[in-house]
Symmetry: C2
Subunit: 84 residues, 2 copies
Amino acid sequence: MENIEILGFIAAVLTTGAYVPQVYKTWKLKSTKDISLSMYAAMFTGVLLWLIYGIHYKSIPIILANGITAILIMFVLVLKYKFK
Amino acid sequence: MENIEILGFIAAVLTTGAYVPQVYKTWKLKSTKDISLSMYAAMFTGVLLWLIYGIHYKSIPIILANGITAILIMFVLVLKYKFK
């Protein structure tokens, strides 16, 4: 793998993995007052579109990154609804 | 522009623009208790790496989307520090 592709892979792991501590924090605090619903709704829609984009170009990194991100954002949205 | 590129463009606007309501909400509430610092720190690092990735491939959409996202995340991080 080229250096730039390794960098892209690390970037994908970071921008997808970033949601894990937020899901954990929200689950632990059971509070979502400071979290913007509009942000997560827009992000969820955007990530689904990136997923379609990735499927069209048969790009495994785009499909994986956005598929996992969609699931993590769904967790935040469910917790936002549950602990509003 | 092909349909799939238009879809990718809408995806980029959504996943970048998603941070605007969070910056606005954080600014208005002056509270960041429910927001994960680890999430935004990881996201900021990841977005900077995507920016380098975009510069390497001279991809204007990747450069623009991640450049603007980096600035928006920086706002959330500054507010997180200010209103902790």
